[in-house]
Structures are given as structure tokens and as C-alpha cells.
């Protein structure tokens, strides 16, 4: 059962939230950002090559042109593989844990799995980012020594930065599953 809704990110870029319910205790929430536009790619490439051609005209050294091609290729590969995040998803499996995945434009996926025993709560926090105050969703990790304390805060959806309306949807879905572990009989 999947549904998709459109929202805006903190910087005004359109993003899409997709919710899938796999079972009563398993939900997947994915936020997809805009894909790489051909326009911006061509603009960047043309700018680099114009600059290289200008340097070539000044210095008469053909190495400049091959260096420019090399730099463009390497830069593009690095951007697609390490910088551009296409989709960030959250998989909440009640009684197992929460899995956070970021998929890059080159297909690489980086995953972190946090066990349910370590998760204290999922909350919406405020942060000062540059000149704005933005809302972000984060997972609070339990401190093993202090039952009331929080050992670490793991922020989610850092690259797509959805606005509060989208975050509230995600928050509600997560809390429905997290509440199940409170109602279930406590294991020793």
C-alpha cells in the first residue's frame, strides 16, 4: 500500500514523500528530491570549457584543454557519487529497529541501522541553519547508564530538509509504530 504526496523543502525545492505500509509493524517513508537537471549540467560544463578555451587562447598550451576535460569528468563522477543525494528513506520495523538509507545519484546507498533497544524516541527539533530557523526530524538514542538521558541525536533527512508539514506526516507514522512497543508486554 503506497501513497505519494508533494511537499516543499526548506529552500523551496519541490520534494515528494512516499509512504508504504508493508505490515502492521513495518513502514517505509521515502523523501525524494529533484533529479539532476540537464540544464544545470550543460551550464556547468560549458562554463568550465569556455574558461579553458580562454586560457588556451592566452597560453597556447594544449594541456589546458585536456586538463579541463579531465577535471570535468572527475568532478562529475565525484559529484554524482559523493554529493548528490536522490532519495532518503526511513524504514521502521517495530521490535527490530529503524533503518536510515541515503541513495546517491550514482546508485550508491549508504545505510545505518539502529536497534530498537537503543532508540529512545523520534522527535521534531528546531535548528538555526544559516539565517533561518528550520525544523528537522531526529532520533534520540538511549544512554545506557542513565535511563532518562540521551546519548546521541541522529538527524534525519539532512539533504532534502523537508518543511514542517511533511515532517509531521513522517512523525505521526513513526510514533504509531513506536507506541506499539510500549503497549506490548515488556520482555525481561
Amino acid at each position: 500500500m503506497a501513497e505519494e504526496r508533494r511537499f516543499l523543502s526548506a529552500s523551496g525545492v519541490p520534494i515528494a514523500l512516499r509512504r508504504r505500509q508493508h505490515s502492521a509493524s513495518c513502514r517505509e517513508l521515502a523523501v525524494r528530491g529533484p533529479r539532476l537537471q540537464l540544464r544545470s549540467l550543460s551550464a556547468a560544463t560549458s562554463a568550465v570549457w569556455l574558461a579553458a578555451y580562454g586560457l588556451f587562447a592566452l597560453s597556447e598550451n594544449s594541456m589546458v584543454l585536456s586538463a579541463a576535460i579531465f577535471i570535468t569528468l572527475i568532478g562529475l563522477i565525484i559529484y554524482l557519487h559523493f554529493v548528490k543525494i536522490d532519495q532518503e528513506s526511513l524504514l521502521v520495523i517495530g521490535s527490530l529497529g529503524i533503518q536510515v538509507t541515503s541513495s546517491y545519484a550514482s546508485g550508491k546507498e549508504s545505510t545505518t541501522f539502529i536497534e530498537m533497544g537503543q532508540v529512545k524516541d523520534v522527535v521534531i527539533n528546531e535548528a538555526i541553519h544559516m539565517q533561518k530557523v528550520i525544523y528537522y526530524l531526529c532520533i534520540l538514542l538511549q544512554d545506557p547508564e542513565d535511563p532518562q538521558g540521551v546519548s546521541e541525536v541522529v538527524p534525519l533527512f539532512q539533504s532534502s530538509k523537508p518543511r514542517l508539514d511533511c515532517l509531521i506526516e513522517v512523525y505521526k507514522s513513526c510514533q504509531e509504530i513506536l507506541e506499539q512497543r510500549k503497549t506490548a508486554p515488556q520482555s525481561s
Binding site: 508493508h22 521490535s95 527490530l96 541501522f113 508486554p185 520482555s187
Partner: protein, 573 residues
């Protein structure tokens, strides 16, 4: 409560039978290790499981039944399997059944003494048994011992599979009362090369230990401990590197088997690092000895040393004149300049004396590159130190002179103001001086003050030269450290068999069908390259800066001799 069943993907096509594994009651999860096929005698199964439990210390028991009906649904078989639940009493009794080639299995539990009779949800997690067995879970760095009781659920699962290796030795094709299916059923894996290497390693280790004991016996003999030689050995970085490598060889050739994962990885890393080092050294040697490059090197060495000496002479002539427009004290200037010029003259004659032997010395010294690239780099660093020895001497002279001057000035400045340094109380006290003491003190103070710029300039110039040499040597040592401490075996393992080094797991949701349990695939999330290097770095006798920037500047200002790199074995003075 949700019931989690960890099912090995290799058993998906196994024939019907009963499931054996470990039940972790705190997490309400069942880790299934193998399937026992019909026919079997329940008493023998219980006996076998008891033996396995004794050997592996893992509480293996019969968890449920597995029904793989390839044709139609067999009613009698399912009833029979339910009855088995009474023979092997286990709470809860898990029943998994698969119809034909369907991906969606039905899973149910039988609870006799259930407190809450409602249907509990079941999650089916598939895992790759061989990969989980071989993998090593790396906990995050800050936890270590704290979370031992609160041990993560995943480490319990990895632990269970890893320790049950004895269970995987018997197969359903073996003759015996118990017929099991597990990851080995697809074909027992072994490698001839690995077995041969294991057999050959024992005599090789013994030979290496014998050779090493000989070498270390020679090194520790009394002959080499006399004062000039022992001082020389401690100053040459080649000897330190040699000692370090000998230590490494001792670690590899020891007869004891590695106790745990860390020791095994350490041995393997040292071995691969040594191998690569020697290979690179031999490559360097073959490049050096081709086309008479050593001869060329020797021929250029003397002119380079001459050139350096001439540049120094020009520098001193410049200092003796009016350097940068500053006016020096003529007499002191001439004295210091001539003193240093004479030293350079001695040095040039010494180099010319050595010149016929340089090529031969270089040729033999170059042979030691076969011991490793690190050795060649250390020798290079030592050669640089020897060739710039005169710069070091000049630095020491200049620094001592400047230091004396500064101390004299500070003490006379106190006299100028009528104070004295109280050695007993380690503080400045007032003191009444006689008139003649004051007179001479002020005179000396003035003389020292006006001679300060000359000395300071010489000190500055030679300190800069010395720092330059130190930086070059430091860079070479940094490179040697890098080659020494890089865990190459771990990096290659992370590249080729990434499941061996696990940072955690990741789950993938497989196709679902309504009414059937949730299906997940558990895969191993490998450690990142940065964490691999950080966890498995080899310890070195590394040289790192002894002083912070502030104390370095203070020492430079006061004229104290600086030795910026501290080695691990040095005592703190």
C-alpha cells in the same frame, strides 16, 4: 509481542524436517541453524544436540517443524509434524510450511501455556549463513565494555552462528543417524592452496624463529654496546627501523596461534606489509642498479655537496658585509664569519678526501634496499643528516652563543634594576650591590646589548637552515611511518570480502503478500575504509612533535637547542 524468525536462505529448498537452532527468549527471536530430515529417532536427535551444546556452549534445541511440500498439500504430514511438537516440547513451537515453489510461506506458532491467546505477528528474516558465520561485528568505538550486559541483539545472532561451527560439519550426505541441511549442503568448500600453506607454515615459522634468535643474539652482544657505537646506533634511524622490523618478524614467526580476531588481523597485516615493503624495495633496487644509475648518483653527489658549501660561503660573506642594510659590529662579525668559513673549508676538504670511495660505499649501501623500501628511505634520511652535519654544527654554535648572551643579558638587566635571582626560593629578590659591582655590571650589560644584533642574525640564519633540514627529514620519516602502519591486509579484505568486516546489518523488505508473515532480507553492512584503517592500524615507534607551537617558539627565542621530533622510546626530559 512480535516473533522474529531468522531463517538461513540456504535451507529454503530443503526437504521437510524439523528445525534446530537457538531460542533467544529476551528478544523473542529464534535463530534457525539447520534442518534435520526424516527419518530420525528423537532420542538420537536429543543426544546429538546435547553433545553440540556441550562443545559449543550454545543452547541449541529443536525449535519447530519445516514442511516443504513439492506437490499437493499433504494433510497427514502436517498432523505428524504437529504431533512432533509434543515429543520435542519447546515453547513456542514454530511451524513453517512452503507450497511448491511459492515465495510466500505460511508460518504459525503453537503455544500450549500461552498467557495471551491472540495471534502474534511473525517476521521472517532471511540471512546468508556462511557470510554471517565468517563475519566479525565491530561495535562502535566508544562502547567497548560498557554495553556488555546490554549487548546488542545483532551480536547475539552473529555470535550464535559463529560459535556453532561444529554443527556444520555433518551433512545430510554423510552416513549417520542425523541428516542435516545447512550452508555446507551446497557443497563443502575448501581450498587446496590454503591447506598446503597451513602445512608449510609450521616448519617455515620454526626456521624463521631460529634465524631471528641468531640475529638478535648478535645484536645484543657486548661488542656493539661500547659507548661510541651505542650512541651511533641510537642516533641513526636505520637501526631503529631495523629493530622495528625484527620485532615484526618475531610476532609473525611465533608458534602460538592467534587467540582472537584482533591478533589474527595484526599478524596478517604485518605479514602483508612486510611483503609489499620488500617487493617495493627490490623494485627500487632493480631500477637503481640498471644503467649504472649508482655511478651517476655518486658523480653528482660531490658537486652537490661542493655547491652547498659554496652557497654557505656566499651567505657568510653576505653576513660579514652589511646584510639587508643592517649595520653589524665589524669586529665580532669578522671573528664569527672567519670561524665559520674555516669550518666550511675543513668540510670541503673532508668531502674531497672521501670522493674516490663514494661510489663503492653507495653501491653497497644500495644493496640494503632489498630489505625494504622503508629501509632505503631511512638510509636516505641518514645520508641527508650526515651530509648536512656542518649545518647542524653551525646551528649548535650559533644557538649556544645566543643562549649565553640572552642569559647574561637577563641577569645583568636584573642587576641594572637592583634585583637578583634567588636560586633557593626560585624567585627574583631585591639586592643591594656595591658601587663597583654596579659599574662593571652596567658596562657589561651595554656591551652585550650592542653586540646582540650580530649574534642574533647569525643565530637566525643558521636556525632557519637547520629547520629546513629537520622538515625534510621529518617528511621522510612520516612516509616511513605511513608504510609501516598501514593495515594493507585489512584494506584488501574490505575490498574483496567485505562481509568479513561488518559495521552492522541492513534490512531489505522483500515482496509481501497479505496474510503471510513479513519477509525481510538481512545483509551485512561493511565497515567504512576510514574505520578499517583506524581500527587495525599497526603501532609504530612513531615520531611526533615533542613540543607545542608555543613552547617551540619560546625555545627558539631563548636559544635552547631544539629536537622537534620525539621518538616513542625517548625519556621525557
Amino acid at each position: 509481542m512480535v516473533l522474529k524468525v531468522f531463517f538461513p536462505s540456504c535451507c529454503s529448498s530443503a526437504d521437510s524436517g524439523i528445525l534446530i537452532g537457538r531460542w533467544i527468549s529476551e528478544q523473542n527471536s529464534a535463530v534457525i541453524l539447520a534442518v534435520v530430515h526424516f527419518p530420525f529417532i528423537p532420542v538420537q536427535v536429543k543426544q546429538y544436540l546435547g553433545e553440540v551444546q556441550r562443545v559449543t556452549k550454545v543452547s541449541v534445541s529443536v525449535l519447530g517443524s519445516w514442511n516443504n511440500s513439492k506437490q499437493e498439500k499433504e494433510e497427514s504430514l502436517s498432523e505428524f509434524l504437529e504431533d512432533l511438537g509434543t515429543i520435542f516440547c519447546h515453547e513456542p513451537w514454530i511451524q513453517i510450511s512452503k507450497e511448491g515453489d511459492s515465495k510466500f510461506w505460511s508460518c504459525s506458532t503453537l503455544q500450549k501455556h500461552s498467557k495471551n491467546p491472540q495471534e502474534e505477528e511473525i517476521i521472517l528474516v532471511y540471512y546468508d549463513q556462511r557470510k554471517v558465520m565468517l563475519s566479525h561485528l565491530h561495535p562502535p568505538l566508544d562502547t567497548a565494555g560498557q554495553r556488555a550486559e546490554d549487548a546488542s541483539k545483532l551480536s547475539a545472532i552473529f555470535d550464535t552462528v559463529a560459535r556453532s561451527q561444529v554443527l556444520f560439519m555433518m551433512d545430510r550426505y554423510d552416513e549417520g543417524p542425523i541428516k542435516l541441511t545447512h550452508w555446507q549442503s551446497d557443497g563443502v568448500e575448501a581450498s587446496i592452496i590454503v591447506e598446503l600453506l597451513k602445512q608449510a607454515s609450521v616448519p617455515a615459522c620454526m626456521l624463521l624463529t631460529f634465524l631471528l634468535s641468531l640475529v638478535s643474539g648478535i645484536c645484543r652482544s657486548r661488542v656493539l654496546k661500547f659507548w661510541p657505537l651505542s650512541f651511533l646506533w641510537s642516533k641513526l634511524s636505520t637501526c631503529e627501523q631495523l629493530g622495528h622490523r625484527l620485532q615484526h618478524l618475531q610476532v609473525i614467526s611465533s608458534n602460538k596461534k592467534a587467540q582472537n580476531q584482533n591478533q589474527l588481523m595484526r599478524k596478517a597485516n604485518i605479514f602483508v606489509s612486510l611483503l609489499i615493503d620488500v617487493a617495493l624495495g627490490i623494485l627500487l633496487m632493480s631500477w637503481l642498479y640498471r644503467k649504472n644509475r649508482i655511478g651517476h648518483l655518486a658523480e653528482t653527489l660531490i658537486p652537490v655537496a661542493d655547491h652547498v658549501a659554496e652557497e654557505l660561503q656566499d651567505l657568510l660573506q653576505w653576513l660579514m658585509g652589511a646584510p639587508a642594510g643592517l649595520k653589524m659590529n665589524r669586529a665580532l662579525d669578522q671573528v664569527l664569519g672567519r670561524f665559520f668559513l674555516y669550518h666550511i673549508h675543513l668540510w670541503i676538504s673532508y668531502i674531497h678526501l672521501l670522493s674516490p670511495f663514494i661510489e663503492m660505499i653507495l653501491w653497497y649501501v644500495g644493496l640494503s634496499a632489498c630489505l625494504g623500501l622503508t629501509m632505503a628511505l631511512c638510509i636516505l634520511s641518514d645520508i641527508i643528516a650526515l651530509l648536512t652535519f656542518h649545518i647542524y654544527c653551525f646551528y649548535v654554535y650559533g644557538a649556544r652563543l645566543y643562549c649565553l648572551k640572552i642569559y647574561g643579558l637577563s641577569s645583568l638587566w636584573r642587576l641594572f634594576r637592583g634585583k637578583k635571582w634567588n636560586v633557593l626560593r626560585q624567585r627574583v629578590d631585591s639586592c643591594s650591590y656595591d658601587l663597583d659591582q654596579l659599574f662593571i655590571g652596567t658596562l657589561l650589560f651595554t656591551i652585550l646589548l650592542f653586540l646582540l644584533p650580530t649574534t642574533a642574525l647569525y643565530y637566525l640564519v643558521f636556525t632557519l637552515l637547520r629547520l629546513l633540514v629537520v622538515i625534510v627529514q621529518g617528511l621522510i620519516h612520516l612516509l616511513v611511518d605511513l608504510i609501516d602502519s598501514l593495515p594493507l591486509y585489512s584494506l584488501i579484505l574490505r575490498l574483496c570480502r567485505s562481509y568479513r568486516l561488518a559495521a552492522g546489518v541492513k534490512f531489505r523488505v522483500l515482496e509481501q503478500q497479505d496474510g503471510k508473515p513479513l519477509r525481510l532480507l538481512m545483509q551485512i553492512n561493511p565497515l567504512s575504509y576510514g574505520s578499517v584503517v583506524q581500527t587495525y592500524r599497526l603501532p609504530t615507534y612513531s615520531c611526533y612533535p615533542r613540543d607545542s607551537w608555543a613552547s617551540l617558539c619560546k625555545k627558539l627565542f631563548l636559544g635552547e637547542l631544539i629536537y622537534p621530533w620525539k621518538h616513542k622510546g625517548d625519556k621525557q626530559n
